[in-house]
Amino acid sequence: MSDVSKTDTDAGPAGGESSEGAARKFLSVRDLRIHFDTDDGLVKSVDGVSFDLEAGKTLGIVGESGSGKSVTSLGIMGLHSSERARISGEIWLDGEELIGAGPERVRQLRGQKMSMIFQDPLSALHPYYSIGAQIVEAYRVHNKVDKKTAKTRAVEMLDRVGIPEPARRYNDYPHQFSGGMRQRAMIAMSLVNNPELLIADEPTTALDVTVQAQILDLIRDLQKEFRSAVVIITHDLGVVAEIADDLLVMYAGRCIERGSSEKVFYQPQHPYTWGLLGSMPRIDREQTDRLVPVKGTPPSLINVPSGCAFHPRCPYADVPKDNLTRTERPDLREITDGHFSACHMSRAEREKIWTEEIAPKL
C-alpha cells in the first residue's frame, strides 16, 4: 500500500525529488490524501493525488461527482475541518507548505494569495449583506485600509468583471442579481486581493451557455492580466478544453490520467478517459448514432474496488494478464513527456485499442 503511494508520488514531474524540488513550482501537491471518518466507514475522498502548476497556467481537474475533485480543491484552500477530515501529504504554495502550517497562517493566505470561486453563487454569497459589503469585507480582512478606499476598490472590481453601473449595483443584495451577475460578483470578490492562485470549482455549471462563455472569457482575461495560476474543476470536458493547459482526470479519489490538454484529448491513455470522451455528444463532429457510455456507476468511496478502481466498469479489464486489474492497483506511470496514466495495459495494447476501437467512434 505504502509502496504504491510512493511510486505515485515519485511519478510527479518533480521526480523523486525531495519537497525542495516540489517547492520550486508555484503550486505543488504531493500525495494528498483526504479521508473522512463516517458512521459507515472511512471515506477515502482523495487518495494520493499529486500535481504541479506554474504561475500563469491553468490546470483542469475533471471527473464525475464523488471523484474527489472538489475535496481536493477545498483541501488546498484549507477548508476542511480538522476534526472531521484526516489530511496527509504536502501542499506547496510558492515555497510554503500548507498542511503543516497552522490554521492561522492558512487563513492569512486564503483570500489573499489563494482564493476560490464556488459553484453555486447563491449559497456562497450571504443574503443579508449587500454585494459591495461582502467584497469590502474580503478586501479589508487582508488590507489595512479605510472603508472609503475599500469601497472604491470594490466598485473598481465590479466594473472589472463587467457589472453594469457598478457604483449603483454596489448596494444591491445577491437576490437582486441574476445568476451570471452573481457569479461575476463572486469572481470580483475572489480577485479583490489579486490572488496568485485561483481555484474555480465548477464556476459555470449553474449557468447558461451564453453566460458560461462570458465567464470563461472573463477568467481567461483576468488570468492574463494578473498572471494567476488557475485550477478549474469541472465535469464538462468542453469547458476544460477551452481553458486548461493541463488536465488531471480523477476517478474514485485518485488521478488516473494527467498531461497537457492536447495529450489527454488527442491521445488519451486511460479507458476511463476514453469513456468520458465517448459519453459526450459532440457538436463539432458528425452526428453519431449512439453514444458510447461507461457502463455501471461510479464506485462507493468506502468500498473502493480492489485493484484498479475502474475495473468493474472497464471493458478492457481482462486485457492485462494474471488478473492484475483486480488484484493490484496500477501506478501512475509516465507514458510520454509529462503525460501520465494509471493503467495495467501495456502501451502497445492501449495504442491498439485506441486507434482501432475508440478513436473511430468518437
Partner: protein, 424 residues
C-alpha cells in the same frame, strides 16, 4: 372505469396506425397554436394583480408521431412552462393545445384523466420527483392504480417488466429511492412514465442532473425505447450538444417565444436566427486546438431581460448585433425561410434579409463582442462597417442593390464566422 381498461389494446393499435412516419404528412400527434401562459403577480391582501410573468407568449408548433422535438433555450425562456402546458400540468392562459385532434386546452382534471395515460412526463430532478417514502414498486405501479388498470399478469409482474426495460433489476421492486444513484433514479422516473404505454413523452431536462457517463446511458436508453415502443418525444434541455444528439426537429426559445424551428441538420449547419447562432457559438467544444483562436465566438453581452416586462418588438433586439429600428418596434413573425426551417427574425443569418432597408443601429453593435478581439479592434471594425453601410445606404429605393449591400455588411460586420459553426 371498465371502459377505460378496455381501451388499452385499442390504444396500441391506434398508435401504430397513427405513426405512419413514412407517409409525407402524418397528422400531428400534438398541435399547439398560439399557446400563452402568464403568471399573475399579485400584491397586497386583496391580491391585486400588478403584472404578469409572461413565461410563454404565443407558441405554435406541431409534434408528429414518432419524432423527437427538442426544445432549447436559456433558463427563464419558458421551455419548462411549455412542457407543463402541453402535458396540462398547467392550464394555458390562452391558445390551444390539441392532442390527436382533440382540444385539451381547458379540460378539467377529471376529463383529463383518461388522456393522462397517453401523455407522460419525465422530470428533471431524479431526487425531487420520487417520493422517498414509497418503494420503487409502489412508485412505478401508481399509474396503474390511478387509472384503475389491471395489466395482464398482475401489476407486480408488469412493474418488474418495466424495471427490466429501463435497465434495472426486477429485484429492486421493494427498495426505496435513496438506495439508488442519480442515473438509476432517472431510470425509475422513465419506467413510471412508460407504465401506461404513453404515446407522447415530455422529458424536461432528463439528463442534466446526471454525470457525463450516466448521461450517455440515459440518452441511449431513451433512444432504444423510442425505437422499441414507437414513442414520440418532446425533450426539453439547455444542452445544445445533447439536443442535437436526440432530436429530429428543434425549437429554439427565447423569452417565451420560439425564435427558430427547424430540422436538426438545418439548424446546426445554417442557423437563421442570430440568437441561435450566438447560442451555438457559445457551446464549449471539447477540442483543445480551438483554444486561443476563437474568432468565431459570438459573446452576447448582459443577461436575458425579465419576462415581466419583455422588450417590445423582437424580444432579442436588446442583445442582438444586427438589430435595427424595426426590431424595436415590430415583432418579426415566425416564417419559413427554407424548407422545414422557420425563424422569427427581420435580418436572419444564412437567408435573405427580410428588411434590407433598415440599417444596423449603433447601439446594437455594442451588444456583442467577438472573443479574441480587443475592444479597440471591435469598435474599429464597427466603425468601418458603419462607413461601408452609409456609403451603400443612399439607395433605399432600389431594393435589390441595398439587399446585397446589407448582406455584405451582415456577412463581414458581426463576425467572420459565417462558416464558423456552419459547415456545409
Amino acid at each position: 372505469m371498465t371502459e377505460l381498461t378496455k381501451k388499452i389494446p385499442e390504444q396500441e393499435s391506434g398508435a401504430g396506425s397513427a405513426s405512419g412516419s413514412d407517409s409525407s404528412g402524418p397528422e400531428p400527434i400534438l398541435k399547439v397554436t398560439g399557446l400563452v401562459k402568464h403568471f399573475p403577480i399579485t400584491k397586497g391582501v386583496l391580491k391585486r394583480k400588478v403584472g404578469a410573468v409572461q413565461a410563454v407568449d404565443g407558441l405554435s408548433f406541431d409534434v408528429r408521431p414518432g419524432e423527437t422535438l427538442g426544445v432549447v433555450g436559456e433558463s427563464g425562456c419558458g421551455k419548462s412552462t411549455m412542457g407543463r402546458l402541453i402535458t396540462r400540468l398547467l392550464e394555458p392562459t390562452g391558445g390551444k393545445v390539441e392532442f390527436e385532434g382533440r382540444d385539451i386546452t381547458h379540460l378539467s382534471a377529471g376529463a383529463l384523466r383518461p388522456m393522462r395515460r397517453d401523455i407522460q412526463m419525465i422530470f428533471q430532478d431524479p431526487y425531487g420527483s420520487l417520493n422517498p417514502r414509497h418503494t420503487i414498486g409502489g412508485i412505478v405501479s401508481t399509474p396503474f392504480k390511478l387509472q384503475g388498470i389491471e395489466p395482464e399478469g398482475g401489476v407486480k409482474k408488469e412493474v418488474q417488466r418495466l424495471l427490466e426495460l429501463v435497465g434495472l433489476s426486477p429485484e429492486h421492486y421493494n427498495r426505496y429511492p435513496h438506495e439508488f444513484s442519480g442515473g438509476q433514479r432517472q431510470r425509475i422516473g422513465i419506467a413510471r412514465a412508460l407504465a401506461l404505454n404513453p404515446k407522447l413523452v415530455v422529458a424536461d431536462e432528463p439528463v442534466s442532473a446526471l454525470d457525463v457517463s450516466i448521461q450517455a446511458q440515459v440518452v441511449n436508453l431513451l433512444d432504444d425505447l423510442q425505437d422499441e415502443l414507437g414513442l414520440t418525444y418532446v425533450i426539453i434541455a439547455h444542452d445544445l450538444s445533447v439536443i442535437r444528439h436526440v432530436s429530429d426537429r428543434i425549437a429554439v426559445m427565447y423569452l417565451g417565444k420560439i425564435v427558430e424551428l427547424a430540422d436538426r441538420a438545418s439548424l446546426y449547419t445554417s442557423p437563421k436566427h442570430p440568437y441561435t447562432k450566438a447560442l451555438l457559438s457559445a457551446v464549449p467544444v471539447p477540442d483543445p486546438s480551438r483554444r486561443g483562436g476563437k474568432s468565431d465566438r459570438i459573446l452576447l453581452k448582459g443577461d436575458v431581460p425579465s419576462p415581466i416586462s419583455p422588450p417590445g418588438g423582437c424580444r432579442f433586439h436588446t442583445r442582438c448585433w444586427k438589430a435595427t429600428e424595426i426590431c424595436g418596434t415590430t415583432e418579426p413573425p415566425l416564417i419559413q425561410l427554407a424548407p422545414g426551417h422557420q425563424a422569427a427574425c427581420h435580418h436572419p443569418e444564412n437567408a435573405p434579409d427580410q428588411r434590407p432597408q433598415d440599417t444596423v443601429s449603433v447601439a446594437a453593435r455594442e451588444t456583442v463582442e467577438l472573443a479574441g478581439e480587443t475592444p479597440a479592434e471591435s469598435t474599429e471594425k464597427a466603425e468601418s462597417t458603419e462607413e461601408a453601410e452609409s456609403t451603400e445606404k443612399p439607395a433605399p429605393g432600389d431594393a435589390a442593390s441595398s439587399d446585397t449591400a446589407s448582406d455584405d455588411v451582415a456577412s463581414d460586420a458581426p463576425s467572420q464566422d459565417a462558416e464558423g459553426p456552419a459547415k456545409e
